[in-house]
């Protein structure tokens, strides 16, 4: 519980344009129960006046669903990458420090360009091919309940990018695709139809920036807001790529 029950205070890292120098501004709004970071930012947006009494341009950030399924609102909140919709004000230490999600190029203020997540998903072919020269659906895909429940964990990924921003191997300096796309390879390879493209996906992650670039720091699994077992996916992909390499080298 925060000690200060009369106001909600924010310290926000702002940036006017890509490449322009960042600066800090502080805001305070009257306390109200049950705020999350987004709803509180909306109050700031209504009256964008800093604690110094200066009227400034409203803070820009990304949001959509407000229920932790779209992944668009991830930012660094008190130093931790997490979705801002599920960051409840009453559980945060004040002043609440907001910074753009690290590792991604800043567009403006707290809005970052997250297109690299999509590029990763495209690179690993994180989809199921249902159009082919022949019918791939010969009856309903059969899958056991235990397999289904393991797969379900990975299907919860909302591409928020928290795992990527916490990864010490991922960033502008490297071409590592990061844990989110790798977990989708794990998911798609387990799909009864998706497994037909398993070798293609594995080859995609056996090149530069693939699964071998993982350093096993395992921050990803700690910060994932959906508790996706990312490091288990990486271990399973280690096994799949080992088998794939044996096939590539020795045939089969």
């Amino acid at each position: 519980m925060p000690a200060n029950r009369t106001s909600i205070r924010f310290k926000i890292r702002r940036q006017d344009a890509p490449g322009s120098p960042p600066y800090w501004q502080e805001f305070a709004i009257p306390y109200a129960p049950d705020h999350n970071v987004i709803s509180a930012l909306m109050v700031v947006q209504n009256n964008p006046v800093t604690t110094d009494g200066q009227r400034v341009a409203p803070v820009v950030w990304d949001r959509n669903c407000m229920e932790e399924v779209c992944g668009s609102c991830a930012m660094l909140i008190n130093g931790v990458p997490r979705p801002s919709c599920s960051a409840l004000i009453d559980s945060l230490t004040q002043p609440i420090v907001l910074e753009p999600l690290p590792k991604f190029p800043v567009v403006r203020d707290l809005l970052v360009d997250r297109s690299r997540i999509d590029e990763g998903l495209r690179k690993v072919r994180a989809w199921i091919e249902i159009d082919g020269a022949w019918d791939t659906h010969e009856g309903a895909p059969r899958i056991s309940p235990s397999e289904w429940s393991a797969n379900y964990l990975y299907s919860r990924c909302m591409s928020c990018g928290c795992c990527l921003s916490a990864c010490p191997q991922f960033g502008p300096h490297s071409d590592f695709i990061g844990p989110a796309a790798l977990a989708q390879v794990r998911l798609m390879n387990a799909h009864p139809t998706g497994r037909y493209d398993q070798a293609d996906r594995l080859h995609a992650i056996m090149g530069d920036g693939g699964v071998s670039d993982c350093g096993n720091a395992q921050n990803c699994v700690r910060v994932c807001p959906k508790s996706i077992p990312l490091t288990t996916a990486i271990g399973e992909l280690g096994r799949q790529t080992t088998v794939q390499a044996v096939k590539d080298l020795f045939g089969g």
Binding site: G171, M206, G207, G210, N216, A217, G238, R239, T241
Partner: protein, 210 residues
Amino acid sequence: MRHSTADPHFLLRRLHSLLGLLPVGAFLIFHLWENSQSRFGAAHYNGEVVAFLQGMNYLPILEIVIIALPLLFHAGYGLVITTQMRAELTRYRYVRNWLYWLQRASGIGILVFLLLHVGMTRIEGIWRVSVREDLFGHMQHLLSQPWMFGLYLTGLLLSVFHLANGLSTMGIVWGLTTSADAQRRFGFVCAGFGLLLAAIGLHGMIGFLP
């Protein structure tokens, strides 16, 4: 889609991983075991242990092919991999994150230590007959200096850590351990293995002291 055989990235990483255990890690285990026999005294160590190794046929070839070249590749490629590290140790205070950093930091530390260690034993022994003939006395002279003992102890602990932690992450890389439980269990097994190796190494170092 390019095959893994057409793109050397994957195979180089796996070669780096494999060489760390075989033969480099295996040599470290052998080396610590061999030197733990220092406690049986100068006559036994020089006359039996060192004399046997020095008397091996094709010794220089074995040293180069089994120890030097794999070690140089592991170290060189390891340095390349280390450039990708952007560790934030205070932001993410998780054990694995620290181990990730320590694996790379220890690698650099080991490289510095090995240059000194190999230089003042194997290389110096090439032109100084006294080092070759009384390695026990030479090591006793070196380790009797507290700072040198500290240097060797640091080198030993860094090497043992690097092998034990490397083995634990190797389990994930090669796909031996997948579930979080399996990775934790294997992590403890590797920690136990590392402590055992450190004890053997320390035992050997103390054995040289007068």
